[in-house]
């Protein structure tokens, strides 16, 4: 029981952190909690399909306690020497974007955007490798502006990102919003507003509030934007519960067997106890008292083993350097796998263990309680 509890505490802690980290990666690095677009933009992403009065909406959301930033989006080509690649341009408001996204913290080399450096851009890692550029070197970008003319310019690579997600990794080019507007001849409007909800507000509640503020616009949660991933995470949570249940069912069988053996081996003593006047309730009490003592000892040992191991994993974690840069279902994996250490990490495995052991003890305990003393005393 102790070993199983230890295993389950570690498993719960690791899986809980993994799922939380995955959600945090999605929300912090990719899409935010919610995104607002002009109607039809997601079906047909066009430079011309914009949210016109973004500033009023941003002010309204910020006043309601939400963090929000506007982004400009476009596609085109980037080239350096003889290499070129298709890229996605992100024009961001550098100060407010840092309130909403943690992309700026994922620099592999160089430095993040500086609004004062109008020709500085930051690239995804694989794109930089493809173009064979390092910070300080130049790239040429090529696209089409809103005026129909060619949008082309020379930019300095300020920094290179890592572990942000496959889209950014393969083709992300971040630049200040003002630079984007100048390059694409886009004086007004934005393509996307990324919103982060207050910590105590549920996602659905936040979605309703943002929809109310952004009438006539398309508001979607990260779960709407990444339904496959959301479904995968729900399945993973279900799998976590199933794993706990499977392990504990195995324990239940062991406990049931052990308690039945206990009854069988002590059948004579149980018969004597009944003969001497212990009531069925008393025998039930004895059996459950034994279960409580054994389970309490198992819990104490399981927690004594689990707490330091979990603490180590929570603080140090597993190094997964070989997985750095890889992604699961399009979400970048962290290079270190930590564990969550919370009351819930312990409470769920302990609670399930107590429930399972209680159920597994009930049958042998009832069998013992209603044993026929005459037959039990003469049992050989």
């Amino acid at each position: 029981m102790s070993f199983a509890l230890w295993t389950m505490i570690l498993y719960s802690g690791l899986m809980s952190w993994y799922l939380r980290d995955m959600e945090a990666t999605i929300v912090d690095l990719e899409v935010g909690d919610l995104q607002v677009h002009a109607l039809d933009y997601r079906d047909d992403p066009s430079l011309h399909t914009r949210i016109d009065d973004a500033e009023a909406l941003l002010q309204q959301l910020r006043a309601a306690g939400y963090r929000a930033t506007a982004r400009l989006l476009a596609h085109g080509l980037a080239a350096a020497d003889e290499s070129s690649a298709g890229v996605a341009f992100f024009g961001i408001d550098v100060p407010s974007d840092a309130q909403v996204s943690l992309v700026h913290e994922h620099l592999l080399e160089g430095s993040w955007l500086d609004p004062a450096d109008s020709h500085g851009v930051v690239l995804g890692r694989r794109l930089a490798r493809m173009l064979a550029v390092d910070p300080g070197e130049e790239i040429v970008v090529l696209s089409q502006g809103t005026d129909g003319a060619m949008a082309a310019d020379l930019f300095n690579v300020r920094g290179i990102l890592e572990n942000v997600g496959p889209e950014v990794d393969r083709g992300g080019v971040f630049m200040p919003a003002a630079t984007f507007r100048e390059l694409f001849v886009l004086p007004t409007g934005v393509h996307q507003i990324v919103v982060r909800r207050p910590a105590d507000t549920e996602l659905d509640v936040a979605a309703e509030a943002v929809r109310a503020a952004a009438s006539g616009l398309d508001v979607r949660t990260w779960r709407d934007l990444m339904p496959t991933l959301a479904s995968f995470m729900d399945s993973a949570r279900g799998a976590l519960v199933m794993m706990v249940v499977i392990v504990y069912v195995a324990i239940a069988v062991l406990v049931l067997n052990a308690m039945l053996m206990t009854v069988f081996e002590r059948i004579r003593e149980l018969g004597v106890l009944k003969a001497l006047g212990v009531s069925p309730g008393g025998i039930l009490g004895l059996m459950f008292a034994e279960m409580v003592i054994v389970t309490a000892m198992a819990i104490a040992l399981g927690v004594a083993l689990g707490a330091p191991t979990l603490h180590y994993l929570a603080t140090e974690g597993f190094e997964l350097t070989s997985l750095a840069g890889t992604s699961v279902m399009g979400v970048a994996m962290s290079s270190t796998w930590h564990a969550d250490m919370s009351a819930e990490t312990f409470a769920v495995p302990i609670g399930v263990l107590i429930l399972i052991v209680t159920l597994a003890t009930s049958y042998p305990a009832l069998k013992a309680a209603f044993i026929d003393p005459v037959r039990a005393i003469h049992h050989r």
Binding site: G271, G277, S279, P280
Partner: protein, 232 residues
């Protein structure tokens, strides 16, 4: 020594067991009374119903018919819980195979019924130490059953049976597993307890040594009382 008020009354008691498709009539309308302070042996051949009779009187088994009264209470009218309490408070048991708790010491075994009754620990100590001394086990209180001889274990069983001042002690073949010397010692102790504490003993036996010492011998044959002999 014994008074005429009956502690046990059996009226037309029957007990029928089913063994497969067959019915076994262990008791066939048995009648008997046991008065307070009696020292009674129930004898008879194997299968005559001696043990069944003790089980029925001891509220361990329910009769198929008839009535068993213990201190005037009809055992058939009691719930399972009431029967448990009756066994705990008013009946002492001595088994052929001693049936002590192997993990408990002699002292703990002897105090078990008192502990079940919730008797104060000091009072328990006083009574149990006195009883163990009476049965010749002073100094052996902390020994577990595997550290005691068969005779010593049976003496602990007697101490356990009489510790709570029961109305009757039921002993099923108490000397069957003992050698002659231990059987004699045990009978001495039982007689002494009967004489000094007025403990009512009712025991089944084949043992002629026991029958010699009994002041009443009830012979049971085919589930009925065949003879009932009282000695002065």
């Amino acid at each position: 020594m014994e008074s005429h008020s009956p502690v046990v009354v059996c009226k037309e008691v029957t007990r029928v067991y089913r063994q497969g498709s067959q019915e076994v009539h262990a008791l066939r309308g048995l009648n008997m009374e046991v008065a307070v302070g009696e020292f009674t042996a129930i004898c008879g051949p194997s299968g005559s119903g001696k043990t069944t009779l003790l089980n029925v009187i001891g509220a361990l088994d329910r009769p198929s018919g008839g009535q068993v009264l213990l201190e005037g209470r009809d055992l058939a009218a009691l719930s399972q819980r009431e029967r448990s309490h009756l066994r705990r408070d008013r009946i002492g048991f001595v088994f052929q195979a001693y049936n002590l708790m192997p993990v408990l010491t002699a002292y703990e075994n002897a105090e078990m019924v008192l502990a079940l009754q919730g008797v104060d620990i000091e009072e328990r100590r006083e009574r149990v130490e006195g009883l163990l001394a009476d049965v010749g086990l002073a100094g052996m209180e902390h020994r577990t059953p595997d550290e005691l001889s068969g005779g010593q274990q049976q003496r602990v069983a007697i101490a356990r049976a009489i510790a709570a001042d029961p109305a009757v002690v039921l002993a099923d073949e108490p000397t069957a597993n003992l050698d002659s010397e231990n059987a004699t010692n045990l009978l001495d102790i039982m007689e002494q307890q009967n004489r000094e504490r007025r403990v009512t003993f009712l025991f089944s036996t084949h043992d002629p040594r026991v029958m010699e010492r009994a002041r009443r011998i009830v012979r049971v044959v085919d589930g009925r009382v065949e003879t009932d002999e009282r000695r002065t």
